[in-house]
């Protein structure tokens, strides 16, 4: 049976709100980045490096990265509980769904740590 225990915040309202707020953060971040890239058509590695050396860009990037993970978790959880259900694919669905969800979380965690490492240049 598909239940709520694996959802992000156990509450539909919480997940819904998280998805909307993170969507706004991601939109603002990517529009800002796009604006920077358009303003610097001949972008050099030094300029790009200098941009990501500033604290505010690192904070914004980290916020965007965390938002992306939360946003993706709500979205992938929704997809897995839509399509990987006993109703649609039979009795193996629960195991398959949990594996898919565990895989998604693991991947997001790896991306998050990797992203922090890149941002802070460790």
């Amino acid at each position: 049976m598909v239940t709520n225990v694996t959802s992000f915040g156990r509450s539909g309202l919480y997940d819904w709100l998280v998805q909307r707020v993170t969507a706004i953060i991601l939109a603002v971040y990517f529009v800002g980045m796009l604006g920077y890239l358009i303003q610097h058509p001949d972008l050099s590695y030094q300029q790009w490096h200098a941009l990501f050396s500033t604290t505010w860009v690192r904070i914004a990037s980290l916020l965007a990265l965390i938002s992306l993970c939360a946003h993706a978790w709500v979205g992938l959880w929704t997809i897995s509980t839509d399509y990987l259900t006993p109703y649609l694919i039979g009795p193996k669905a629960t195991v398959l769904r949990l594996l898919f969800q565990a895989g998604s979380v693991a991947l997001m965690f790896i991306y998050l740590v990797w992203g922090i490492q890149i941002l802070w240049g460790m």
Binding site: V2, G12, L17, Y83, Y87
Partner: protein, 234 residues
């Protein structure tokens, strides 16, 4: 005209099939799809479908007409025919009882869940519970639902989770009682809807709005429920 009808009798058939019928329609008028079915039933009495009022009030003859859910009794043949062919299938995603007749149990179960009746435990007044015209106006566009299931069975979220997502028809009625000034169970009703499935499986694709034979807007009602949940929580 060519009419293709979904035929399935679980007691006899291994699997469903489409059966084609050629029919001569009387000229000079635009029949409704239900009229065509009635004429075909004279040709082949084994065709099964539901019908009752034949004027879009009872909601019995909801079916998939040339790819779009609608009521057979108020859908003109001219509007439903594609390339000279009329294709009739049962409401999508529902277990078929026979031909165009589906088992609506899960749909009614979701309707039952939202407690579709006025809850007010305060002592009843001598005559009736009064509403101002403004309060009454809030129920317009909500109470008219005839429960034909055209919307819910056109909703992918309802196809995937029919046991947990209330569906557009049920949610329209949920909001009908949330918006009613005479109902006092708002808190309890909202608590029952807060989980990740009941309301929040709606992705806002508005299939429900596109097919509602009564021109109602379940997506807007779902938006109002979300706002109420958000206001209550914050």
């Amino acid at each position: 005209m060519l009419v293709s009808i979904y035929r399935y009798n679980p007691e006899v058939d291994d699997k469903p099939r489409m059966q084609d019928y050629e029919i001569e329609l009387p000229g000079g008028k635009d029949l409704m799809v239900l009229d065509v079915l009635e004429l075909l039933k004279r040709q082949d009495p084994s065709i099964a479908y539901r019908r009752s009022c034949r004027e879009g009030v009872c909601g019995s003859d909801g079916m998939n007409i040339s790819g779009t859910n609608g009521l057979a009794c108020i859908t003109p043949v001219s509007a439903a025919t594609r390339n000279g062919k009329l294709v009739l299938r049962p409401l999508p995603g529902m277990p078929v009882v026979r031909d165009l007749v589906v088992d609506m149990s899960v749909f009614y179960k979701q309707f039952e869940k939202i407690q579709p009746y006025l809850i007010n435990n305060s002592p009843a007044p001598a005559i009736e519970r009064l509403q101002t015209p403004a309060e009454r106006e809030k129920l317009d566009g909500l109470y008219e639902c005839i429960l034909c299931a055209c919307c819910s069975t056109n909703c992918p979220s309802f196809w995937w989770n029919p046991d947990k997502f209330i569906g557009p028809a049920g949610l329209l009625q949920a909001y009908r009682f949330l918006a009613d000034s005479r109902d006092t169970a708002t808190e309890e009703r909202l608590s029952n809807l807060e989980d990740p499935f009941s309301v929040f499986r709606c992705r806002g694709i508005m299939n429900c709005v596109a097919v509602c034979p009564k021109g109602l807007n379940p997506t807007r009602a779902i938006g109002h429920i979300r706002s109420m949940l958000l206001q209550r929580a914050s």
